[in-house]
């Protein structure tokens, strides 16, 4: 079985400050993990993915995430928030036993204040 928990439903930061969106996962097998972003009234865009290679993964728009097996975490970070980063972010897990589907977290709404 696989599951994912996004620890914060809302995160608010000021422009230019760091972003941290937290995600914990559960998987019976070696998981693949993803972060997707959804801007208002838009589709889902893949930000980055971990697939058992390097544990520190770099994505688009300056985001990165670190896979920590001991903590079962895959937190998303960005050193300096931009106004355009305001969106909904989803952490997603996919494991070998359920390769036909992925499980989404509940989402974290990121607000960026000027």
């Amino acid at each position: 079985a696989q599951s994912v928990t996004q620890l914060d439903s809302h995160v608010s930061v000021s422009e230019g400050t760091p972003v941290l969106l937290r995600c914990n996962y559960s998987s019976s097998y070696s998981p693949s993990l993803f972060w997707y972003v959804q801007h208002p009234n838009k589709g889902l865009q893949l930000l980055l993915k971990y697939t058992s290679a390097a544990t520190l993964v770099k994505g688009i728009n300056g985001f990165e995430a670190e896979f920590k097996k001991s903590e079962t975490s895959f937190h998303l970070t960005k050193p300096s928030a931009h106004m355009s980063d305001a969106a909904e972010y989803f952490c997603v897990v996919s494991d070998g036993a359920n390769a036909g589907k992925s499980t989404f977290g509940d989402g974290t709404t990121l607000t960026v204040k000027p």
Partner: protein
């Protein structure tokens, strides 16, 4: 950059009517999916499709739902007799391999409103 295309972007239908949501996946992708997102709720898996058959489906995907790849390029989701609770954003996705290795490319979604 290749895109997954979904049409229409918004569909309004009366309860009990049949609706077909259309998707054109990326041409070299082999795996196809439908997900839905009820307003204010999480994104939920509906069905995955590979090699012209359903590879996995969720409990949401009951007999009212069906999928088809009629012509090698389109991928459709049919809801036979819509209910009010089918109102949601429906996302089509495709991947070149299993999602565990590649992740999805999602379309922009079709907002289905059942009245």
């Amino acid at each position: 950059e290749p895109e997954v295309t979904q049409t229409p972007s918004h569909q309004v239908t009366q309860m009990g009517q049949e609706v077909i949501l259309r998707c054109v996946p990326i041409s070299n992708h082999l795996y196809f999916y439908w997900y839905r997102q009820i307003l204010g709720q999480k994104v939920e898996f509906l069905v995955s499709f590979y090699n012209n058959e359903i590879s996995e489906k969720s409990e949401i995907f009951d007999d009212q739902f069906s999928v088809e790849r009629p012509d090698g390029s389109n991928f459709t989701l049919k809801i036979r007799s819509t209910k009010l609770e089918d109102s949601a954003m429906y996302f089509c996705a495709s991947s070149v391999g299993r999602p565990g290795g590649h992740g999805y490319t999602f379309g922009s979604g079709t907002r289905l409103t059942v009245v």
